[in-house]
């Protein structure tokens, strides 16, 4: 989709309607994407074949990544100030299951950089064509202790793990079988556990692919990796992370991207995106952790929400008079048998006349599902995005009144949304399932500030603290 010059709100709205915002935009066409890596302020992922995708903001992706060597299903990791890229290809024997993993270093992933130069590929070993292993689909992990691990393999036998020297990427241990009948292995470490992610199911069958991401965990990097019902992955076990959604089919090739403490993303492909001709596309979703297991967050969905503070459970609202509704207390009578009637909800037109016309400040009040607490949150993909999402406008439902950051590091609502960066909001699902809400920019400061509860009743902007409920919000869909 081409970028279009914008002229005002009407254009914005019209454009939005024609764009599917819950997938990445641009040309995110890729199969078997490597873990997303940041380099010189841009994001990169490599795929099967050659080349890969680049994104300036993590939201709008286009081709342009350069990776020689061909082969399949690369992975990439930053180690120190260098990037290690691994991929796999046949070792020349001509045997179907004889594949080796190759590794190469680069100082940058940016093909425009003068430093861009891959080292000669190193053979990290693989399969000889006769054994129960097919040495493709490599995945890399740097453990918390600085040890580097490689996993590889497919449905033809075992996934294997071996240790590499993080300075040279040369193998320094013999491979260990860790899982049976998986593909797209990837390891990660979280809070005392090593995780092995992989896929089950069929790839490469478009919208009929049954690819799905599964996981097991272990206290040791070499396993055993055990699933939620106690099965070892070497016995075919695996707990589901993500399969298909009705219009996005076949999740595979997990990669983890840590934005910061408490904010993580998972990258993968969907084998078939029904909104994009059934093509294979890059996907980036919130990654959450529940009871020590990775859980895929759903994409943000436009709609009417309450913005509820995790601190107190109260809702962000306009600081206007709370207009009472008709219908007072009906006594303590438990036995009345008068006709039961449905009362009408308070409507915007019942109260909007009592609101001032200019800026209105904000507070946090007991949730009552009233018009001054009802927020329409709408992605504005044409105004850019961040890793895995588009910026949103946050307006009082039924109006153009928009939430905005102010030069005083506070928040306010302005009567109409103009598209100014302080009216655009980045919404990230956190690893605990709550949300961080962050303006694209705050006038007069470069500080990265987020929406916080400084008191039960008082919202403001402050520094994000993943350990404080003051920094966290829930989106309660109406």
């Amino acid at each position: 989709m081409k970028k279009t010059a914008l002229s005002g709100l009407t254009a914005l709205t019209a454009l939005f309607l024609s764009i599917v915002a819950s997938a990445q935009i641009g040309s995110p066409y890729i199969h078997d994407p490597s873990t997303v890596v940041e380099c010189d302020g841009k994001y990169y992922t490599f795929g099967t074949g050659s080349g890969g995708l680049i994104s300036e903001d993590g939201w709008n992706w286009h081709s342009g990544g350069v990776r020689p060597g061909g082969g399949v299903a690369p992975d990439a990791i930053k180690i120190g100030d260098r990037y290690l890229v691994v991929y796999s290809t046949g070792n020349g024997s001509g045997l179907r299951y004889s594949s080796h993993v190759y590794a190469m270093w680069n100082k940058t992933l940016d093909p425009e950089s003068p430093d861009f130069e891959y080292s000669e590929p190193m053979d990290l070993g693989g399969s000889n064509g006769y054994e129960d292993c097919d040495g493709i689909d490599p995945g890399l992990m740097m453990g918390p202790d600085g040890r580097l691990w490689l996993v590889y393999g497919t449905y033809f036998g075992y996934l294997r793990i071996r240790e590499l020297d993080p300075k040279t990427a040369q193998p320094i241990s013999e491979p260990v079988d860790v899982a049976l009948s998986c593909e797209a292995g990837e390891m990660t470490y979280n809070d005392g556990w090593y995780y092995l992610l992989a896929t089950h199911g069929t790839c490469c069958s478009g919208v009929n692919s049954t690819y799905e991401i599964i996981v097991g965990r272990s206290k040791s990097p070499t396993g055993p990796y055990v699933d939620n019902v106690g099965r070892d992955m070497i016995h075919g076990g695996g707990k589901l992370v993500l399969a298909s959604e009705p219009r996005r089919i076949g999740a595979g090739h997990f990669g983890r991207f840590i934005v910061g403490k408490g904010i993580e993303k998972m990258s993968f492909h969907f084998e078939g995106d029904l909104d994009r001709s059934g093509r294979s596309v890059l996907a980036i979703r919130p990654l959450m952790w529940k009871d020590g297991w990775p859980v895929a967050g759903e994409p943000f969905e436009n709609g009417e929400y309450s913005l509820v503070s995790e601190r107190r459970g109260y809702a962000l609202e306009l600081a206007v008079n709370n207009v009472p509704m008709a219908g007072g207390m009906r006594g303590f009578n438990r036995n009345g048998d008068d006709n039961v009637v449905a009362l009408e909800d308070q409507k915007l037109e019942d109260v909007i006349g009592t609101w001032p016309e200019g800026e209105i400040s904000l507070r946090i009040g007991p949730e009552l599902f009233r018009p001054h607490q009802a927020w329409e949150i709408t992605e504005v993909p044409e105004l850019g995005g961040f890793i895995g999402g588009a910026y949103c406008k946050i307006t009082i439902a039924g109006t153009g009144r928009a939430l905005a950051a102010t030069a005083g590091k506070e928040i306010v609502t302005v009567p109409e949304f103009t598209g100014a960066p302080e009216q655009l909001w980045r919404i990230d699902r956190l690893t605990d399932g709550t949300y961080r809400i962050m303006p694209k920019s705050v006038p007069g400061t470069d500080e990265e500030l987020v929406l916080v509860s400084v008191a039960d009743s008082t919202p403001s902007l402050g520094v994000f603290n993943p350990d404080s409920d003051n920094s966290k919000w829930n989106l309660l869909k109406h």
């Binding site: 199969h31 049954t210 298909s244 909104d275 001709s277 059934g278 459970g313 949730e367 829930n474």
Partner: protein, 483 residues
């Protein structure tokens, strides 16, 4: 996840199924207690509600003494009822007394039904920062000691100790202040933590009530009870448990009901149900636990879902052929070769239903692909009765009448049409970890209370429920409807 957010289109049909049915009108309900196979809750004023099944409620419970906001607990084979003699200054000032009395049964029709003489266990004077109403009790499962908290917005929440044998105040017991500026306090214990619950906000203002339930926790039964941002309840702290939800306004008067390990409910009132004239009604919701905090589950919503086995992540589906949809692999092309984007249609029921057999079709679990044989409409059948907190449901393939049913081999299958038979009715309980238990109302020829269980990844069956195993657990995933 603090709230389980259903991204879902509701298909509610006239009757509001968010609240209990019958005439569940009550204010300040006590904890729900089971006696003689029935459920009881007492409210402000006198009397209370009875339910045979936990879902349909009607008045009829009997509690003398009037006053406000009672609590009830079963201790041994007797019931202890606790109430405050006046309410919230309405009696003129804040002098009040907490009274306790025993009964061998709560069923007014039982020959054993007789309350003992009430005794006073706690008192507030006209002039102190304390108002002795809204009692709540906890029998500490680790020590067997009985604790009572009471108080309102007028000053402190106080904790006293009662003798669980007599219901009297323990001799020499000194009251402890454990909270401030709340009402409807009660305590609970779980997994090494003591919890103090109460309400903040305004009661008794119908649809404009801002009542909401809050909690703090402590490792010590006497507090201090600390909230999620480190404030003590005595400093006015409190983490939110449940607030107003759309047309249900002002939750208050928490009570916990443990059915079995992993299956818990919370009872409370909504100050106003806008679908029931804005009256105050009894509510029963799943009680969930997350990171050591109580979380209110949502009332199950009618809708069309993927029913996902927690064991394998596979989706409950008909045992029918996988019919391929249009849209094959588009090459490994990452290229940006210009090609017009095409929006593909999802496979529809009519594309595949003709290939299905007409009679009984088995059920299994398979990779979720969003296909018609994996889409289940879960629809309440209110006339078929219910269980604590919910009605029975039929579970049918969306767009058809093909219904999930238990059979006489204690296995699960689908029948071509829903008949209302008990083996086609399903009880759905949200578990304390947020997942669900799905149980048939009955299994032909079997008395065992079996639940839907995945013993194999692909094989749903009916077998004993085990909260410790993901085999027994299911998720309902609700996606945006087909456009």
């Amino acid at each position: 996840m603090k709230r389980i957010v259903f991204i879902c289109i509701l298909l509610l049909t006239g009757v509001s199924l968010h609240a209990q049915t019958g005439a569940p009108y009550i204010h300040d309900p006590s904890s729900i207690v089971k006696s003689d196979g029935k459920y009881f809750t007492f409210g402000t004023g006198g009397g209370g509600l009875i339910s045979e099944d936990g879902w349909s409620w009607h008045s009829g419970a009997v509690r003398p003494g009037g006053g406000a906001a009672p609590d009830a607990i079963k201790i041994g084979d007797r019931y202890l009822i606790i109430y405050g003699t006046t309410g919230g200054g309405m009696g003129g000032g804040h002098a009040s007394k907490i009274m306790t009395m025993w009964n061998k049964t709560l069923d007014p029709d039982s020959p054993d039904f007789a309350y003992s003489e009430p005794v006073m266990v706690c008192e507030s004077l006209v002039d102190e920062d304390f108002n002795a109403i809204d009692p709540g009790v906890l029998l500490d499962p680790t020590t067997g000691r009985l604790w009572l908290t009471c108080g309102t917005y007028f000053g402190h929440i106080r904790q006293v100790e009662l003798d669980p044998k007599t219901g009297f105040r323990v001799e020499g017991n000194e009251a402890i202040d454990v909270g401030r500026n709340m009402e409807a306090s009660t305590m609970m214990y779980r997994d090494g933590w003591y919890y103090l619950l109460g309400t903040h906000g305004t009661c008794c203002d119908g649809v404009n009530s801002t009542y909401n339930i809050v909690v703090g926790r402590s490792r010590n039964v006497n507090g201090p009870f600390i909230d999620n941002v480190g404030r003590s309840m005595i400093q006015g702290g409190g983490k939110s448990v449940v607030t107003t939800e759309g047309r249900l306004v002002g939750p208050g008067h928490f009570g916990r009901y443990i059915e079995e390990e992993g299956v818990e409910k919370m009872s409370f009132h909504w100050e106003a149900d806008m679908d029931q004239s804005g009256r105050s009604v009894l509510a029963i919701r799943p009680l969930l636990w997350k990171d050591g905090w109580p979380v209110a589950g949502e009332a199950f919503r009618e809708g069309t879902y993927e029913i996902q086995s927690v064991r394998s992540g596979y989706a409950l589906e008909l045992e029918v052929d996988f019919i391929r949809a249009q849209g094959a692999m588009r090459g490994l092309g990452r290229g940006n070769e210009p090609q017009p984007n095409v929006v593909l249609e999802e496979q529809k029921l009519e594309d595949v239903a003709g290939t299905w057999p007409e009679g009984v079709i088995g059920a299994r679990n398979g990779y979720y692909m969003g296909r018609p044989w994996q889409r289940w409409s879960v629809i309440p059948v209110p006339e078929a009765g219910g269980y604590l907190g919910g009605p029975y449901y039929k579970i049918v393939i969306a767009g058809t009448d093909r219904a999930l049913a238990a059979n006489d081999k204690a296995e699960v299958e689908t029948v071509p049409a829903f008949t209302g038979a008990p083996e086609q009715l399903w009880r759905i309980d949200q578990l304390t970890d947020g997942t669900y238990r799905i149980m048939p109302k009955s299994i032909p020829g079997h008395d065992e209370p079996y639940a839907l269980v995945s013993l194999g990844d692909c094989s749903p069956t009916l077998a004993p429920f085990d909260f410790k195993s993901d085999n027994s657990k299911w998720d309902f995933r609700c996606y945006s409807p087909v456009k």
